[in-house]
Symmetry: C2
Subunit: 495 residues, 2 copies
């Protein structure tokens, strides 16, 4: 139909702008020289402004709204494209362009300010920016709804269908079950000989091992690229171009390896999306939560399993003879699954990780739903750390200044990290009923697991909602008890 | 003035599009995965189309034309910005947008076709595309002028002020003086023990040496980046972001090293341009010829001089002990300046290089000014090789299929390669009168030479015309006899 054709022309145009902005951002985050940024920021704000104008133009709005009125005339896929477009439109259409551009600039500056604040361990530097970002976010929400549940809007933006009510249940279970379980585990801790974890591993060999892992997991280099950057991340424009980055740390080799497998999980998801969706607005993963479920699945369920290292530990041992010669597979497996109280989320083990997210969720909820004096944030943060993990940071750079997210305006994002891990556990219990997971991993046949995940989850891109996919795969609604069960089973055996 | 402000807004907008397209092209030419290209081409053609629309919009035309009418009201710099804009506008304004987009696509496809043709050594694959490109170029020229001297338009596009008349004089001198001189040199050739040239040098150490050279030449990494790619090239958006690539060949180490110094010359030029010009349309080098004069100056006058290797040969020798232990500095110097008949331009030595360009100039002149049957090109090419270099290629991939330029529509570009070398020689004879060049090079004080070139040439960006700069620096008009003199002096000593 003519109208839908027009819609596709608009969509392609917007996509083209998105793509060049995305390539510029890849460049900025991996290799652009530091002095290029002032000019670059000025230039990119012009292109972003044009992008915004296209995404909110009267002509485009008319087409989308006309299609929505006739939505029943379209097949499922087109319907979904139209609805997704309408949702994206509603999200931004009421924001005045100047405010949008102003906010983009604020976000850009704030991230640099946050870096300084973190480096100088000085929350006061960041606080005024945090305040402005929160005010802007609240204003953006006010443009979209006159309801009072502002935080729900943000939660739904990152994970369609999720709300404070559902997250309260989820984090309630974590608080009730995991907080005491973590305490028990930590009490059982013994002094073990795991010095190999912090030993020195040369970067070049780490790189070789990660490249070996890419083969193990069947990553497609013809449609991707593995590169180094300060913070690991995955990047994609469509299924034919999905890249990710790794950071090699000489004295933290397992951080390098597991971050690599984590990003690889994100990347495999994107590479496995049906290429027919490439040029539509449905070509990315279903949600942050589903994405995280895949990265966590690869990182934890596969990467931190004993079966996996039965297959690959000899290789690693051969590559790092001095460091691992005297470390048995059992000791190695215990080492890479060591539970510990840590200040830093990204360094946390699989078991304590959700408690780090719990803290962030509760604070974001306070900011957007309950009201809180920003002055108090450091002490609130520290008290929660004490309550859940029994340690207290002595500096804010180990506390509420540790993550980039808030400086980038990403409120509502953190909860999806824990949610994704919980999705992963629920998916895991289905998967092990259907295929002989442990044997496949042990026999280095990841291919078959990839295939299962591709058919059940990846291929759909964002043609389905997150909770819909979960129910399709597992046959039931989201149920956090699988996550609790998984962690308790695994760590009861270990401790 | 209001009108000029409007002009700057338009200019910045165009620049922003130019920048994102440029970043995408950097990505495409260095690391983008091969399967991304079909979607990418489609998306980029949308952005290119928008860019073209902006560059030729009625509003913009009006502003530029109004400024031209009042040109005397502006200071020198603004005057130059306006004139440069007007010239750029006239170049494309009469091309219909569809034709422009069509031509861009043709160029994109043709380059891939050319690659195939070269690989399969089959001119017939490429011929129909070459024909279409030539027709399109002629049509573009017809939009701009009703004069008959089509090739002059192309020559002037790449090197303002140059024409067939001037190039005929230049290449006439080369034919008259250099062709016989090369013959004499080649006759004097003896069998020397220069096997070290084609020895195997491991890539990692080559890379270390090139990184060492970056320090020697004082390349600024805060405003740049050194990377690998299949074909070395320099890339820049403004003086704060100037990158270049190197290709390391295990059995052709001197190609890697001198290509690196060559690109470095281009890069230093761009980094040294007055940053006040960054956001204007005058922020690039003055012309292709002046650019090439700088890359050739660094590559040949510095890089292939004996003084340079007096300073750095011990370092290279220490890095490649096995290969160079028994090679004296004298033998090394002779080796890197070895004269030989070769089919391939990019592998040619400094002395025979201009003869390769002469052939291309004469053929382009035939195509655009005299008329020639494309069927005949291979035999014409081969006959000229025989005439000037006394060798005849047995396959077209060693002949007229060797260069990418024609498949990219770049006719009129080749002559600037020889012209740049001639500029370099003329500049060289001025420079050695003003500073103690040889001593500075020998004492590893390139900094002072950089400074001289920066003040005399680089800093001006394209605020001055090429022949104007040459006259400013050397005190006289372009004079090819310096080039002949330089080559005869150098190679008479060597042979």
């Amino acid at each position: 139909m003519e109208l839908f054709k027009q819609f596709k022309v608009f969509q392609k145009q917007q996509k083209a702008y998105g793509m060049v902005l995305s390539i510029a951002s890849w460049d900025s985050n991996t290799e652009a020289p530091k002095k290029c940024f002032p000019h670059r920021a000025e230039m990119l704000s012009i292109i972003s402004g044009e992008h915004f104008s296209l995404m909110t133009s009267k002509d485009y709005q008319e087409v989308v709204n006309a299609l929505i009125e006739r939505i029943d005339e379209f097949d499922t896929l087109k319907k979904k494209e139209i609805i997704t477009a309408k949702k994206a439109l509603d999200k931004i259409v009421k924001i005045p362009k100047e405010e949008y551009v102003e906010y983009s600039k604020l976000i850009n500056i704030s991230q640099r300010i946050w870096e300084d604040a973190k480096e100088q361990d000085d929350y006061d530097i960041f606080k005024p920016y945090l305040k402005r970002i929160i005010e802007a976010k609240k204003q953006h929400i006010a443009y979209r709804t006159d309801q009072n549940d502002k935080y729900n809007v943000l939660l739904d933006d990152f994970e369609e269908g999720m709300s404070m009510e559902l997250y309260d249940q989820f984090f309630g279970a974590i608080k009730e079950e995991l907080v005491p379980f973590v305490k028990t585990v930590l009490e059982k801790r013994k002094d073990t000989d795991d010095g190999f974890i912090t030993d020195t591993y040369d970067k070049a060999t780490q790189k070789d091992f990660v490249e070996y892992l890419m083969e193990v997991f069947d990553y497609d280099y013809d449609r991707g690229l593995l590169k180094e950057s300060v913070h690991p991340f995955t990047w994609n424009t469509h299924s034919q171009d999905v890249r990710f980055t790794v950071r090699y740390l000489e004295n933290f080799v397992f951080s390098s390896i597991f971050a690599a497998i984590h990003e690889l999980g994100h990347a495999l998801y994107e590479q496995n999306i049906d290429p027919a969706l490439d040029m539509t607005n449905l070509n990315g993963g279903a949600s942050m939560g589903v994405h995280e479920s895949q990265s966590r699945f690869y990182e934890n369920m596969i990467g931190r399993s004993k079966a996996f290292w039965e297959a690959h530990y000899p290789k690693l041992q051969a590559m790092f003879k001095t460091q691992l010669r005297d470390v048995s597979l059992d000791d190695f497996y215990r080492g890479i699954n060591k539970v510990d109280e840590t200040f830093i989320r990204v360094e946390a083990d699989e078991l304590t990780y959700p408690l780090h997210i719990l803290i962030r969720y509760e604070i974001e909820r306070m900011i957007f739903d309950e009201g809180v004096d920003l002055e108090e944030l450091p002490s609130i943060w520290n008290a929660k750390m004490k309550q859940y993990l029994n340690i207290e940071p002595t500096k804010d750079s180990d506390g509420l200044l540790q993550d980039v997210h808030w400086s980038a305006g990403m409120f509502g994002y953190f909860p999806t990290y824990a949610l994704g891990s919980a999705y992963a556990a629920q998916i895991y219990y289905t998967l092990i009923k259907e295929i002989d997971f442990e044997r496949l991993v042990r026999e280095n046949n990841i291919e078959e697991i990839n295939q299962w995940l591709k058919e059940k989850i990846h291929c759909f891109g964002s043609t389905k909602k997150p909770l819909e996919i979960l129910e399709m795969v597992t046959g039931e609604a989201f149920n956090p008890s699988y996550y609790i069960q998984y962690l308790k089973e695994k760590y009861s055996k270990l401790y």
